[in-house]
């Protein structure tokens, strides 16, 4: 840590850990409901649990991105954050809006639009909050001593993510148009601007952890984000095949979304190549595990498993089945959850001055979480493929099929337990570091 204001990041990461734990609890509620143990149905019906589970996911990831920006931007721009107090105001208001939304979901206060369930009144508060965040970040960046590509790509990703939230706030009478523009938010986030955020964080971590020359890393960063937009923007069409819009999207969406894995492949090759090439042997090995892990798992989860159902000929059968849930889990995990856990692992020793990395628990957490999530993905996948055959090919009734496949949810829950164990260990590690301190300014010099 080089600047005192970088400590703000810690509190964002702490909120992350809290929201992530809650997300997992609601995941278990749904998993149990699916094997018939729905005792909570009257208080937390499935749609509540689902809205909470997915919204907490999005909010904790965004919180993690914000924390990452508060740590990375001052260091890249070589100055303190313009206003630390406002950063805390932003954190607290974010937490308040989040809590109100989550509580509201338990009382039928929501808008049933998948992933965008936050009611429109609260959307405006979200917008104000994000504007404050962007103001702080951009002011720091533009008054700083240098503007690095890494910082620009990261900030651009955050700025576009905010802008793209707006189309999701418009009301449409038609379900089809509603859905059309909902994808401008959901798809263009995860397969567009969030990849810029991921790329920015990844490149920062690689510069720090491998010691490879910044110019080389940043050149490839441009290539990666270039591939992302080249394929991802028109790739939005893969959500337009079968929702009631023109057939042109079958061709455009099919071709361009099939190219999307290239950006993730490039990211994985990039990380592994830089790691090999790097001469620096950074002591924080666990941060390196999460970093390289994110680049590889995102390629499998988003790239390969996304490709598996992105062609119109396949998607006509798998659209809206558990196959989608299989891909959703591994893609979000590999690309975004893991990169946030990577930056947290890197930042913690630096803001607290305690070099507690490289104990067995941290590595155990990494493997439990990853093997658990892989198992969950396989369970969803097997259930999904079976569902597709029985329901869409053999024309069996929905619930008849669900009863046939419920055994896979027992497997899912077992793997989820392993996964949750990994995350609990990760959080214990996190807590073990204690609070951030200014003394870390000196102590951390040797490790950043």
């Amino acid at each position: 840590m080089k600047y005192k204001s970088q400590k703000v990041a810690y509190w964002f990461f702490a909120l992350c850990m809290l929201l992530f734990s809650l997300q997992i609890v609601y995941g278990f509620i749904m998993g149990f409901a699916r094997i018939g143990m729905d005792g909570l149905h009257d208080f937390i019906p499935f749609n509540t649990a689902r809205a909470v589970h997915t919204n907490l996911l999005v909010v904790w990831l965004l919180t993690g991105f914000m924390g990452a920006a508060y740590y990375i931007i001052p260091e890249e721009s070589q100055r303190e954050l313009v206003n630390v107090k406002l950063a805390y105001v932003q954190l607290i208001s974010l937490a308040v809006v989040g809590v109100v939304a989550i509580v509201g979901y338990h009382f039928n206060y929501w808008e049933g639009r998948k992933f965008l369930e936050i009611p429109r009144e609260l959307d405006f508060l979200v917008v104000i909050n994000v504007l404050l965040f962007l103001g702080l970040i951009l002011a720091t960046l533009f008054t700083g001593k240098r503007k690095t590509t890494t910082a620009l790509v990261l900030s651009m990703g955050l700025l576009f993510a905010a802008l793209l939230y707006l189309p999701g706030m418009i009301w449409f009478d038609s379900q089809v148009t509603d859905s059309f523009f909902r994808w401008w938010v959901v798809h263009l986030w995860v397969e567009g601007v969030w990849e810029l955020i991921m790329g920015g964080i990844l490149s920062y971590l690689l510069i720090k952890l491998t010691g490879v020359d910044r110019e080389v890393i940043e050149k490839w960063l441009y290539v990666i984000v270039g591939l992302t937009f080249l394929s991802g923007i028109l790739g939005t069409g893969h959500h337009y095949y079968y929702i009631g819009v023109n057939k042109i999207w079958l061709i455009v969406g099919g071709i361009f979304s099939a190219l999307e894995p290239l950006a993730f492949l490039a990211m994985a090759l990039f990380a592994m190549y830089m790691y090999r090439k790097g001469e620096k042997s950074h002591p924080n090995k666990i941060a390196l595990f999460w970093t390289i892990g994110a680049s590889i798992v995102s390629f499998i989860g988003a790239g390969l498993l996304g490709f598996a159902h992105t062609l119109p000929q396949t998607n006509i059968y798998t659209h809206g089945t558990l196959v989608t849930a299989m891909h959703g889990h591994y893609a979000f995990w590999g690309a975004y959850a893991m990169i946030v856990l990577a930056i947290i692992s890197y930042v913690m020793p630096n803001v607290t001055g305690r070099k507690l990395y490289n104990n067995a628990r941290g590595h155990f957490a990494f493997w439990c979480a990853n093997i658990g999530m892989l198992g969950m993905t396989v369970a969803f996948g097997v259930a999904g493929v079976a569902q597709v055959y029985m329901e869409r090919k053999m024309k069996m009734e929905f619930m008849e099929v669900q009863n046939e496949i419920s055994i896979h949810f027992v497997v899912l829950l077992l793997c989820a337990t392993l996964f949750a164990t990994g995350i609990i260990l990760y959080i214990i590690e996190f807590l073990g570091y204690g609070k951030p301190t200014d003394e870390a300014l000196v102590a951390a010099e040797s490790i950043d």
Binding site: G112, Q175, V176, T177, Y242, V252, T324
Partner: protein, 146 residues
Amino acid sequence: MLSKSQARTFFLGGTVVTFLAFIGLTVYSLQPNNDQTNHDKIDAKVVRGKELWESNNCMGCHTILGEGGYYAPELTKVIDRRGENYVKAVLQSPVPWAPRGRKMVVYKMNDKDTEALIAYLKWIGNINLNGFDQVVSPLAKDKIKN
């Protein structure tokens, strides 16, 4: 070898070109003469139905047009498959509807709202889905065959 400024040009160029193409295609596919949804049939009832669909987060369990939760049956073709009276019974049921064990939320919906939701589902059922309508959940005609 590729230089950093060439890499940046690739990024900016690719983004601008595909973005413009995307906007063009969006305008094209939202043209009234490309409509596949019977947009003109959206009346006050259908709009009210959509409001109810959203305010109760039906999509949190069911899929419609293949979008939503995977916990409860796909509803795009539900009127075709079950008929209006069945849907009415589900929405107005005073106890959780659960013919095969898995429970739905109790809505005890009044007649007016029920009508609106049925109008909405009917409108949904007539959308041209580029062939997906033939695959999504068993259609009424497939059920007769079995």
